[in-house]
């Protein structure tokens, strides 16, 4: 895109713009030249090339068809992966786009999960609950409460840079885990847990079988549609004024400040939006399994999100979703390994077992991708695309 020719100063007829020419956004495209833009609006469009438009449409149609193709357990895995993708998109905004390293994503996820669970929980139950099961309400509330927490943390972030920030957000995870374990009225306490939010809207329960769809098909479709909404918003944010400000802060904060970007406000906003995503993801994540424990929101969860963003490709929406799907489907893949390598056991008590393999793979994948393909899965895609774009002269 950066190499694309820009001809915004004149319209196709060669007259200078500003006269009574057609709106530049409507400028026609040249056939067979997808990288050739005739206006800024064209380049900044949400899906700026025809192949992108077609590709996204095909992927969405494909995704919507899946519930009638795949088995229910696989659909459930994919639904979880979609929720992880929503959370990873949030981390991508603060880390990939605004360049602020956050190891505290699990903390905001937890806040969202408990807000949603408390709002939709049974008022008569063992843990706090208000009995409002309307999905949009608890989803947005979870996001907003997490965003408020993000805003509270952000003043620290604006004072600290780089690795200081990473360590402070790491401390946040430990503090959060402690609070979640101790606030037993809300969370049920360690080892006990509480029931998650109920996904219900206008009397339609997503977590139950009905005459048309099974529970897993319902949840898959719900999460898929929500992921689409969140991804669209994230992509839109990246091309807006705010998103460009974030990128400027990431690339060089001093220069960004000189250009009139209020650093404090940009970082605050980045943390707030990222936490909103995390809160929503936390609220949704456990509706699939129905139950969750305060020990879930640990450092490993944060690291998983980092791995998703980095393996997928930091700063890109498509890459982050790829990374989230990849990392979430990794356990299902490693479970199959013992069939091919019999010395790896399926039992936790044996060594080596699949769980160890899975963890080692997390670690080595992060290291390997950063060493050999820093742009992640998205970078691999770009390389494949460029190879075929210029084929047969691909050198």
């Amino acid at each position: 895109m950066s190499t694309a020719t820009r001809t915004a100063t004149s319209d196709p007829a060669g007259r200078p713009s500003g006269h009574a020419t057609p709106r530049p956004g409507r400028a026609s495209r040249l056939r067979g030249r997808p990288g050739f833009y005739r206006s800024y609006e064209q380049e900044l469009a949400l899906f700026n090339t025809r192949p992108k438009q077609v590709g996204v449409a095909v992927l969405v149609a494909f995704g919507l068809l899946m519930p009638w193709v795949l088995t229910d357990p696989l659909l459930q895995t994919l639904a979880v992966a979609f929720v992880f993708a929503i959370g990873a998109l949030g981390l991508n905004i603060v880390t990939g786009l605004a360049g602020q390293v956050s190891l505290g994503h699990a903390f905001f996820l937890g806040i969202g999960a408990y807000t949603a669970a408390a709002i939709s929980g049974d008022p008569e139950g063992r843990t706090i609950g208000f009995g409002i099961t309307f999905l949009p309400l608890w989803l947005i509330a979870a996001g907003v409460v997490a965003a408020v927490a993000g805003v509270i943390v952000a003043p620290l972030a604006t004072r600290l840079r780089g690795l200081y920030l990473a360590i402070v957000t790491l401390g946040l995870v430990f503090l959060g885990e402690h609070i979640f374990k101790e606030w037993q009225d809300l969370t049920g306490g360690a080892g006990v847990g509480r029931e998650a939010a109920t996904p219900e809207m206008f009397g339609y329960a997503f977590d139950e079988d009905n005459t048309f769809l099974t529970q897993d098909q319902n949840l898959y479709l719900l999460m898929f549609v929500l992921l689409l909404i969140f991804a669209l918003f994230a992509r839109n944010l990246a091309r807006s004024k705010v998103g460009r400000a974030f990128a400027a802060v990431r690339d060089r904060d001093v220069a960004a400040e000189m250009m009139g970007i209020n650093l404090g406000r940009a970082k605050l906003l980045a943390f707030a939006i990222s936490s909103f995503y995390a809160g929503c993801a936390g609220a949704l994540l456990y509706t699939i399994t129905g139950f969750f424990d305060p020990a879930s929101f640990n450092l490993l969860l944060s690291v998983q999100f980092i791995a998703m963003v980095l393996i997928g490709g930091a700063g890109t929406v498509a890459g982050t979703i790829m990374g989230a799907l990849f990392i979430s489907l990794l356990p299902s893949l490693t479970r199959e390994v013992p069939s091919y390598l019999p010395f790896i056991s399926r039992q936790v008590t044996d060594i080596p077992n699949v769980f160890q393999l899975e963890q080692i793979l997390y670690g080595l994948l992060i290291v390997g991708f950063l060493l050999f393909e820093p742009r992640g899965l998205f970078g691999i895609w770009i390389r494949i695309r460029n190879y075929w774009k210029s084929w047969p002269f691909s050198y």
Binding site: K181, G363, I366
Partner: protein
């Protein structure tokens, strides 16, 4: 008063282990500009090596001597491991953003820890130290031998480090490289070997810390979380200050121990085990007042 003193000494003991870990973090940070999140894995691997070496050499040497020799062997082994890790995964990343390198060390930490956990097994693994939980008394004061051993070891290590940085050529080279990498390069300092050396030293220190922490109860899979308590310590002291690391480590140890003794009595609403997270609380409070820690150099922005 006796209870307070006992908690204080306990805190100094554990705090001196935090100081060892914190020095490792600071040495790597000063020479490479990166925080190595792989230190917990190094620490736990060190404890594992010691727990296997002690029984192997135990029949030749006295029990106490066997543990000391095993600690040295463990430190050298983990230093070698750290050298390998640095060469394979960190050196190729020279010049890349520090954040990316830090994330690589997280990946390394996960991978190494899985292997170490495989050798530990599910329960706690005794490390074969001669002290266990035995104690001696001065008047009414009861002190655990292991805490004394921690303080003595840390004091010895600090003395060696002081001598190394002050009086050896390579120590001078490391200080020069930490001060200004390019200037050091032009003066003939091999910055590559400084990187390698800093990782090896940090690995060795982490191994010592792991062996000391595992005295008493043995080494288990959860011990790596303790190593992260050294992070508040270095933040307290400032990321680039060795003295700060020692003071921060001791402070964190003492605060943790005092909170553990008194919090249930005075602030039960903070919940059980608040002592474990108190270092992070302390870190947040200090950072609100001083964004670069107590002894860290403020980063000067030149526009």
């Amino acid at each position: 008063m006796i209870a307070f003193l006992e908690a204080f000494i306990r805190g100094l003991g554990i705090g001196s282990v935090y100081a060892l870990l914190a020095i490792g973090f600071v040495i790597i940070y000063k020479s490479t500009g990166v925080i190595s999140f792989a230190q917990p894995a190094m620490m736990i691997s060190g404890a594992v090596v010691v727990s296997y070496v002690v029984p192997a050499i135990g029949f030749v040497l006295l029990p106490g001597l066997a543990f000391i020799v095993a600690m040295l062997i463990g430190a050298i082994a983990i230093a070698a491991l750290a050298l390998g890790v640095e060469r394979a995964a960190i050196r190729p990343m020279v010049g890349r953003p520090v954040f990316v390198v830090a994330i690589i060390t997280i990946g390394l930490d996960i991978a190494i820890r899985v292997v170490a956990n495989g050798f530990i097994g599910l329960g706690a693994r005794p490390i074969g130290d001669p002290w266990g939980l035995t104690r001696f008394s001065i008047g009414d004061l009861q002190v655990q031998w292991r805490h004394v051993a921690m303080m003595i070891t840390t004091a010895l290590v600090l003395a060696v480090l002081f001598w190394f940085f002050r009086y050896t050529r390579f120590g001078l080279a490391m200080r020069a490289a930490a001060f200004d990498q390019e200037a050091a390069l032009t003066q003939g300092v091999s910055v590559g070997s400084v990187f390698a050396m800093s990782w090896a030293m940090a690995g060795g220190l982490a191994a010592l810390a792991g062996a000391l922490l595992a005295t008493g109860a043995g080494v288990d899979q959860q011990m790596w979380i303790v190593a992260l308590a050294a992070l508040p310590a270095i933040i307290l002291g400032g990321l680039d200050s060795l003295e700060g690391a020692v003071i921060g480590g001791l402070a964190v140890g003492v605060v943790e121990s005092l909170v553990g003794s008194y919090q249930r009595q005075f602030a039960p609403w903070l919940g059980d085990n608040f002592a474990v997270v108190s270092p992070y609380m302390l870190m947040l409070l200090v950072l609100l007042a001083r964004p670069y820690g107590l002894f860290g150099t403020p980063e000067v922005k030149r526009v």
